[in-house]
Structures are given as structure tokens and as C-alpha cells.
């Protein structure tokens, strides 16, 4: 599969394409990072998973729409930076935590307590139910338009989809405020 098709499939939210992307470069990446950075196998896997997710996120943001190098070169350059960071942490006996990198991918201006708040929203997302979660993810993560969401999720029209999105955000907000209040007491 060529890079353009793979990028297009990942951008459309195809979960299989993410797995394909992972499997396509896994062996080469892991061997490279274990050999050149003396990274242990388990840590190499963590670094590779974060690198794949960074590329995946950048694809969703449209940063790879006009890719000047190959997808592999891009992935490996992201991986190289992460491997250096792993090395710096390893020297100080600090663990390489994928969740920490995911948090910094979504919050470019991290504030105190952000990690706990994001984890709390993550827990609340599990409560709002799959249809709501899918709608919100299509809009806020996959950056689909309301017209596309209307078609994808089978709403009667765009207004129904918009209305549903508002309700879903309302449910998420309510759960979050309840859980947050519980934590304060």
C-alpha cells in the first residue's frame, strides 16, 4: 500500500489502517532502535507506539497532507527524537511513559493537574455510551464535518446531528462536573 492511500485511510478513521501502519514498520523500527540506541525491547515497543501515535495524530491534523518525504522517513525521524528522550530519561532512571506523551500531544500548554483532569474526562467518556463517544471523536479527533457525520452515523439531517452533538457534550460535561465535585469532597 502506498503512503498516500495509507494516509488517506488513517485520516478517514479506519482502525485497521492504524494496525497496518504499525505492522508495516514495526520490525525494522524495533531492530533499529534496539541496535542504535541500545534500547531494551519493551522500551523500544513503547517508543514505537508513541511514534506511531504522533504520526497518526499529525495525519488527523492534516500535517501530512503534503508529505515531502516518505511516511517511513517521517516515522523514523519522530522515533529518533523519542529515542533520544528515552536515553535522557534512562540516564536518570526515569520511566518512559506513553500516556505522558499522549497528554502532551493534546495539551500544548499543560497546566498543573492537567493529567488528572484528562484521565477524569477519559473515565467520563466511557460512561456516555459508544454512539455519543463516536460522534464526538469523529468531530473533535477525525475532524469530520457535520455533513460527513450525518452521513456516517445515519442522522436524518445535519441539524439532528448538531443537536445530538450538543446533547452528547452536555452529558460529558455533566458527568465530568459530578466526578470533579466528588474528588473535591
Amino acid at each position: 500500500m502506498n503512503d498516500e492511500i495509507l494516509v488517506q485511510q488513517i485520516k478517514s478513521g479506519n482502525q485497521r489502517a492504524l494496525s497496518q501502519f504499525y505492522e508495516s514498520f514495526r520490525s525494522e523500527f524495533l531492530r533499529w532502535i534496539m541496535r542504535d540506541f541500545k534500547c531494551a525491547e519493551d522500551d523500544s515497543k513503547d517508543v514505537f507506539q508513541v511514534a506511531v501515535l504522533i504520526v497518526y495524530d499529525n495525519i488527523q491534523k492534516g500535517k501530512l497532507d503534503h508529505l515531502t518525504s516518505s511516511l517511513k522517513t517521517y516515522l523514523f525521524s519522530v522515533g529518533k527524537n523519542l529515542a533520544h528522550e528515552w536515553g535522557r530519561k534512562a540516564q536518570r532512571n526515569l520511566p518512559f511513559e506513553p500516556e505522558h506523551y499522549i497528554q502532551s500531544m493534546v495539551a500544548d500548554d499543560p497546566e498543573t493537574g492537567m493529567e488528572e483532569k484528562l484521565d477524569l474526562v477519559y473515565e467520563c467518556l466511557k460512561k456516555i455510551g459508544p454512539p455519543c463517544r463516536q460522534l464526538l471523536e469523529l468531530f473533535y479527533f477525525n475532524r469530520k464535518t457535520m455533513d460527513e457525520i450525518t452521513l456516517a452515523l445515519g442522522y436524518k439531517n445535519t441539524d439532528s446531528a448538531k443537536n445530538q452533538k450538543y446533547k452528547c457534550m452536555g452529558r460529558l460535561r455533566k458527568f465530568y462536573e459530578e466526578e470533579f465535585a466528588k474528588q473535591l469532597t
Binding site: I5, Q9, N14, L30, V52, V121, F141, L153
Partner: protein, 254 residues
């Protein structure tokens, strides 16, 4: 906590960058003057970030699940962890035993989601659609819902394909459309709807029975309906097209 509907809509549009210059100016002015409005904005921003974070966390889980099914990759040189293992082999061995018992429980227990999910990922390969515009006249014809649906399906845009196939079904009662729709449901994680669609093919059509049964078994597997999964796999285990896969999957389930 009650919130003003207009404020929320305004802030959502601000976050989505869909306000005009004048509206942006008004929002930013209120943000600097009204603490309550600012707090509401920060919460909305957090929820949007949380949605993106949740999606990425789920993808990380997906990759970790996938990784656990893949073979080990050997390196040219032994990593530093070997030393750690030599020093701490006893506690590590104990931890590994505990992990093995826990994993065994998850794979073989009635709620065995992780094991079944891995099998589903390993066996689910979407049905090949007949494609779009196989003849010149079809290529020149205006695109029908069916053609648009096949196009999205072939590109792997299953979420979009679902909506289009649902419209296509209204136009004509085609078992291939139903099979592809069922597959698109499966690919987007809606196994309950996929189950209904594959059962529809089996009750309403005489074609594509084996294909429908194969994917029906995967829809059951995805929902952890193990008895039904086994029963359907057994039914097709002698077929020439899916028999081998069905037998292999049955063995893995046992």
C-alpha cells in the same frame, strides 16, 4: 451546574475556530472580564482535549493488544535489561507467573474480552467489494448511493461507507450491499448492527450464505457470544471458501 446555552454554543464555535472576527473579539473581551465565562471556556477546552486524549488512549490500547499478538523482534545486541533480569530473576519470575495466571483468567473466562478481541482482529478481513464502475457505462453514469458507498468502502472509510450503504439499501435490496454494510459496521465497532445485517442476508436471500455466516460468526465473537460463534463456525467448517479459516478459529477458541 446550569450553563447558558448561548455561551456554550459560542465557546464551542470559538474552540472550533468557526467564529468571525467580530465574534472572536467579543468572546476574548468577555474572557478577560468575566471569570465565570473564562471558567466555562477552560472546562469546554478540557473536554475537547479529553475527547482527543480518550481517542489516542484507546488507540494505544489497540496497539498494545496488537503488539501482544506479534512475534518477538531480535536485536543485534542484547539490551541492558538482561542485566536487570539476571539480578532480579526471582521476583521477575514470580511476577511473570502471576501475570500468566491473570492472563489465563482473561483469555478463558466467560468475560474473556481481551482474548476474543485479539482473535477478532486477527481474523477480521473486510469482504472485498465488487468495486465501482466495472463497465464503461457505469463509469460514465451519475454516482448512485451504492457507487459512492463502494468508493468509501474501498478507500477504507468505513464510517462514511456505513451512512452511504444505509441509503443504498433503500434504493435496492442487494445482498452484496448488505454484506458490505455489515462489514463496515464490524470495521467501525458496531457488531450488534452487523449481526442484524448478516442475519437479514440469511433470512432474505439465497446468495452469499457462507460469506454472511463467516462474518456473522465474527460479529458474535466481537460481542463475546461464544456459543453462537462456535455454532456458526461449525456450520461452515466444511465449506470450500471459509472452511479452513473456520476450523482454525474453532481450534483457537477451544
Amino acid at each position: 451546574m446550569e450553563h447558558n446555552y448561548d455561551d456554550i454554543v459560542m465557546l464551542e464555535r470559538y474552540i472550533e475556530h468557526s467564529l468571525n472576527e467580530e465574534e472572536i473579539r467579543k468572546v476574548e473581551q468577555r474572557l478577560s472580564e468575566e471569570p465565570a465565562f473564562k471558567e466555562l471556556y477552560q472546562n469546554e477546552k478540557l473536554l475537547v482535549r479529553g475527547i482527543r486524549y480518550g481517542h489516542l488512549r484507546s488507540n494505544l490500547v489497540q496497539l498494545k493488544d496488537l503488539e501482544s499478538t506479534l512475534p518477538t523482534v531480535g536485536a543485534a545486541e542484547k539490551p541492558a535489561r538482561v542485566i536487570i533480569f539476571r539480578t532480579y530473576w526471582k521476583p521477575i519470575a514470580l511476577a511473570a507467573s502471576v501475570l500468566l495466571v491473570v492472563s489465563w483468567f482473561f483469555v478463558f473466562s466467560p468475560q474473556g474480552m481481551p482474548g476474543n478481541e485479539k482473535l477478532f482482529v486477527a481474523y477480521f478481513e473486510p469482504f472485498d467489494s465488487p468495486g465501482v464502475g466495472t463497465t464503461r457505462s457505469e463509469m460514465n453514469a451519475p454516482q448512485t448511493w451504492k457507487a459512492k458507498a463502494y468508493e468509501a468502502y474501498d478507500k477504507g472509510d468505513y464510517a462514511m461507507a456505513v451512512g452511504l450503504f444505509e441509503k443504498a439499501i433503500v434504493e435496492n435490496d442487494d445482498p452484496i450491499v448488505k454484506l458490505c454494510l455489515g462489514n463496515a459496521y464490524l470495521a467501525t465497532g458496531r457488531a450488534d448492527r452487523a449481526e442484524i445485517m448478516f442475519n437479514k442476508i440469511l433470512t432474505e436471500h439465497e446468495d452469499l450464505v457462507t460469506q454472511a455466516k463467516w462474518y456473522l460468526s465474527l460479529a458474535y465473537l466481537k460481542q463475546n457470544k461464544m456459543e453462537r460463534t462456535r455454532a456458526v463456525l461449525w456450520e461452515i467448517s466444511k465449506s470450500s471458501t471459509y472452511g479452513e479459516k473456520a476450523r482454525k478459529l474453532l481450534e483457537e477458541l477451544d
